[in-house]
Amino acid sequence: MIRFRNVTKNYPRSGAALEDVSFHLRKGEFAFVTGASGAGKTTLLRLVHFQTLPSEGEVRVSRYASSKIKRREVPDLRRRVGFVFQDFRLLERLTAAENVAFALEVTGTAKSQIAPKVQRLLSQVGLAAKARSLPSELSGGQRQRVVIARALATDPLILLADEPTGNLDPRAADSVFELFSSINQLGMAVLMATHDARLIRDHPQVRVLELEHGRLVFDSAAEEARGTPEPLPAPPPGPAEQVTPIAGQEGGTG
């Protein structure tokens, strides 16, 4: 489903954002991508979404490989990969239903199918009653649910989420996580970037990919396979804002 093979991403000004990262996320798997700010979480998600290309190595998502994909194929890939942002990015002038419908319209869904699908998606995220509300009338958690419904509009195989609980209080964060979890149980792979140590700690069944200075220093699936749930050796010293270490927790796939 998602395969990173020795992926390095260099930016001309800031240098390496990711260095020699390799992992494989299978169909229906759930994984947290964690690490401090600047560790490379967002870059990793952007690579999966083909918003940027690796400087070295290869990213493979579904049937598309970074070394071979053509520009005209990117939209098709993105329909297979839903994206949820921390800052929601809802269109403020549109209602919740219209925001979801917008994604369907612009991806060429037949008009007759849009309304029933919007209703189904909003029900799926528990927001059927708020269909006509503007984003400004919704709480943070509710907004994030609209974003999730929008991300699901194209029936993706993978759901990417960049700090989706970052702007939410713990209760709303748990609720949003439960939604991701239920979506994952329907067979969709989920890759969620977060530095919420509590969320990670509370869900030990979820695979954890920990980044530090652009390097993958811990992969709970790999550790579990080895039977030694310890951090990968020799990570460089982390910055002061390093998240609560999650290395050593129980790993596992979702």
Binding site: Q51, R72, V74, R89, R150
Partner: protein, 287 residues
Amino acid sequence: MRAVREALSAFRRAPLLGGLSITAIALSLLIVGLFGLSAHNIGVAITDVERRVEVVGYLTEDASEDQVTLARREIESFPEVEDVRYVSKTEALFNASRDLPEFSDVFSDLDVNPLPASLELRLLPGYRDPENVRTVAERVRGYGFIEEVRFGQGWVERIFALRRIAGGTAMVLGGAFAIAAILLIATAVRMAILARSEEIDVMQTVGATEGYIQRPFLIEGLITGLLGGLVALGLTRLAYQLIHDGLVTLQWLPDAWVLIGMVTASALGMLTAGYAVRRELGKAYAI
């Protein structure tokens, strides 16, 4: 249809920006239009003068009628020659009396007509340049009964220098204003993209195709270019009417020029918008 709706709604959403873009493009194109009008009228004047480019071969006194008739036929078959007219000695004297009335007494008192007969050659359009005129003159001079050939070398060369300067200036100024129009359209499209950046961002994220995202901007560019062109055309026509009625008689631009101007303005708007939008959107595709 959606693309047209979106393009029109962009004008409704930001009428000031749309209006400014159209005005800026119209002003640029107005200058192109006024220059075109001047260039066209200069061209008409030059063509009129060029039409008078003649090669005159003066005949010797002993030239026989047969010789002249034969030579005339030969000269008429030159590829550069439009027609050849024989001017007899009598006609030459008549013309001189008519054209120089102050000397009419002198001409009427003459016992012997001193003016020679001549062959007057007019050249075809495209052959009225100094090089061709000189070539034809040399060939005519080759006939034994031709005493002298005149073709006003000095002013022929000046006319063609003037035409070259006018053509070159038109190219440079037209190009400069076209570039200004391109930059304005590109800026207007970039601003329109910025105004809709959130929507575009969402469209790119959920997988809308580039063509779907680009089309409204292309149509917006086309409409902007076309409206700018129409406003410029109206203003140029107004300027023409004012000059024509109050100052000097002018010729209006040929229909083909107007049509080419409108098509160019629209195409320029669309192509510039296409380039600008592709450049802006390309950042999100990484490829």
